[in-house]
Amino acid sequence: MIEIKAGEIKELNVSLVRLSSKVELVGAAWDKDFYYVGDTATLTAQFHNPTSQDFTFIAYLRWTNPYTNQVEGVQETLVIGAEQTAPVSFAFTVTEEVGKIMHIDLIEDGEAIRTFRVSDLIVSTPTGKANIIVEGGRNIPHNWPANTPYTMSRKLVNVGDAEGTSSVRGSWYVYPNSNNRRIIDMGEVALTPGERKTVSFTISWEEMLSMQDEGVLWRYYNMGGSLSPVIASITCPAGWYSAVDHDGTDLLYPQ
């Protein structure tokens, strides 16, 4: 309540908060792990409205057409009651023109005022063959204490439409001298369509110390269905930490 006195010219300046700037994406999941061209893909996203007012907006699932570079997508009306969490589902037919990277935009007055990144769409073209790929991020810890073994893992998934095997290999090498490569272990992984398996390789602390080469980096990367972990050499054995550089390579540096 404001008090207005006789003859007064009262000034009251106000700033209003967009409801959409408070709404949060609290979850999003595809109805399948991957899709073939021609499938109907459905992404269900959960939004939370922490405000005391109902929220109605247009939500747009967008991707960039890799052939035309045009932004395409499907839209749904998003209605969330005050202080409620509600789902919105986007369904579309997967074509070769559907881009992999997906965003959900909240639209107001024709402009995207909030954008949320959601998991990439994984599309597999029917081939009658196995297609085993490396999925997901890396598991390098941020801290690697001394005197502990180091385990690197990768999740493999068969996005093809037939059972198949992929050779996997864990190795270390001194970067940039890739000839100084040391294989930890190797083998084969068999996967049915849609099946996932995690492959891990472990190197002991003692073996790590034996591979020190001061001032030379050891790198860790992966290519296709194979694993080629490499880490940075250490000059201080007290502890290590890891980082991911711009080209997606995991590096371990002396701490």
């Binding site: 309540m1 404001i2 008090e3 207005i4 006195k5 006789a6 003859g7 007064e8 010219i9 009262k10 000034e11 009251l12 300046n13 106000v14 700033s15 209003l16 908060v17 967009r18 409801l19 959409s20 700037s21 408070k22 405000t51 005391s52 007012q53 907006f57 107001e108």
Partner: protein, 85 residues
Amino acid sequence: MTVHFSEGELKELNINLQPIPPAPASLEGQVIDADTSSPLGGVLVEIVGLGSVTTASNGTYSIQNIPPGGYTVRFSKEGYQAVEY
């Protein structure tokens, strides 16, 4: 008015005083977007129980001839969280 008294006179004089109407007040200001600080037009500014106006495209508003008193003032626009004073 001049009143004249005669010697020994008892004069009766009754007076009616008219109250002076209170000077009208006004309320004015500007409404902006909290995130972008850009002016917000089309905001409904309502003095509850008295009346309302809508902000101009530059976000400004002005309500004139408000009798003195205590009022609840509400600002609302679709897509925004309403505020009340």
